[in-house]
């Protein structure tokens, strides 16, 4: 199958910041994004788990966005402005996509 180069940006971020991040992404002209739940985690600020939680104050989500390589820089800049002061992880990896016209 014909595949095309693309970038996969995955941001693990606090749930309270989700809409701010996805707004920033839309702002950077991404064609789409998906939000995945995160159940638990650990890091420099300790361990946490969603079990039994009722608020969004605790807990993270993972936002995944697949984009054309040329849009990467703008996206990273805009996403970073949101995440900057917050805990979380931004990672980027290479991938191949079908239907390149969609990205």
């Amino acid at each position: 199958m014909q595949t095309h180069n693309a970038k996969r940006v995955a941001v693990i971020i606090e749930a309270v910041m989700q809409s701010r991040l996805t707004d920033a992404m839309e702002n950077a002209g991404v064609s789409g994004y998906s939000v995945l739940p995160v159940l638990a985690g650990g890091g420099r600020s300790g361990n946490w788990s969603r079990e039994g939680q009722i608020g969004r104050g605790q807990g993270m989500v993972q936002v995944i966005c697949i984009i054309a390589p040329d849009k990467l820089d703008d996206l990273l800049n805009k996403a970073f402005a949101v995440v900057e002061k917050h805990i979380g992880v931004i990672s980027v990896s290479d991938c191949q996509v079908l239907r390149a016209e969609r990205f």
Partner: protein
């Protein structure tokens, strides 16, 4: 005094307290007992729905009390003011930074709805009446304290806080406020007829759901305490016990000045004494990411909540009874 001790003992052996204790113990012992997130959220929705509606139906029944508006205003004022007191105390009693102190202070101006619910149970158990609109007072007290916390930062730490229109909307229209106020208004509109219709859902099983919910709160609080032991310095712990008592005095004054019923005074004291652990933490994560969440969550959920649940509420009941000559 004796009566009060008996009351406290009674309270300590009520199922809701014991289930909370079970949760804390299970978490300390690292049991894998846990309530799924969706069920915990479902129970909190149930509780807000139930107490909002019941409060509204009570208002519909008793007619609108002249002091309703004044009580709402008093609630607003207290929610704005208490963080200032808390902030001052924190700066004196603990070594917290301005940012952390302001964040903590915001939690104490706001309220904990489960503490309120538990107080309602105790008030009813003691055979006292209370004003149905106290749930509306609870709702108005949720948000203003957040603004006070941000103002404290702006005043003492120059502009670290990030307040935007989005956050303002999130605070004012956060789910629990909307559900509580909405259910209250629907209760007012549909009155006792509406209540009769859904009482088998919101009245009779209420205490049982509350037990399970407190089990979950015990688990979450216990896990938090286990994770954040290091954070809980003596001064901080002391603050978590002293501040609710200080807050309750403001609630007492308000209640007495407004001429509320003894039960209403207990609830006002409890609202002032309790600290938020849902709405305010979420707002703080957005507006004050630099503030350390384990400090405010541990204090609010791990210290002040159990204190109010076990000793605070009986104390407020005893004081209110004494003051109103009951």
């Amino acid at each position: 005094m004796e009566g009060m001790l008996a009351l406290a003992a009674d309270n300590l052996l009520s199922p809701i307290i014991l289930f909370f204790a079970l949760g804390v113990l299970a978490a300390f012992a690292r049991s894998d007992l846990s309530i799924p997130e969706a069920i915990a959220k479902g129970m909190s929705i149930y509780l807000l729905f139930a107490i909002g509606f019941k409060g509204g139906a009570a208002v519909a029944d008793n007619g609108i009390d002249a002091t309703l508006i004044l009580s709402l205003v008093a609630g607003l004022v207290l929610s704005f003011a208490i963080p200032m007191v808390a902030f001052a105390l924190l700066r004196v009693m603990t070594g917290l930074s301005v940012v952390d102190a302001a964040a903590v202070a915001g939690h104490y101006g706001s309220i904990s709805i489960v503490t309120f619910v538990a107080a309602t149970s105790v008030v009813q158990g003691a055979g006292l009446d209370s004003e149905g609109y106290m749930v509306a007072v609870a709702a108005v007290m949720e948000a203003p304290a957040i603004l006070s916390a941000l103002w404290l930062i702006a005043r003492f730490d120059k502009g670290t806080a990030q307040m935007d229109a989005g956050l303002m909307r999130e605070i004012l229209l956060n789910g629990s406020i909307v559900l509580l106020v909405g259910s209250f208004l629907i209760g007012v509109i549909t009155g006792s007829e509406g209540l009769d219709l859904i009482a088998p859902f919101i009245v009779t099983p209420f205490q049982g759901v509350l037990c399970l919910f407190l089990l979950d709160m015990g688990l979450v609080a216990g896990r938090g305490l286990r994770e954040a032991r290091g954070v809980l310095k003596p001064g901080l712990f002391l603050f978590g016990v002293v501040m609710p008592v200080v807050g309750s005095v403001f609630g007492l004054l308000a209640g007495v000045l407004l001429g509320l019923s003894p039960g209403g005074i207990v609830l006002f004291m409890t609202l002032s004494a309790s600290a938020s652990y849902i709405a305010v933490p979420a707002a703080m994560r957005v507006a004050l990411p630099e503030a350390n969440p384990s400090i405010y969550l541990t204090l609010s959920l791990g210290v002040t909540f159990p204190f109010n649940l076990t000793l605070g509420i009986p104390l407020y009941l005893a004081v209110a009874s004494f003051v109103t000559g009951g």
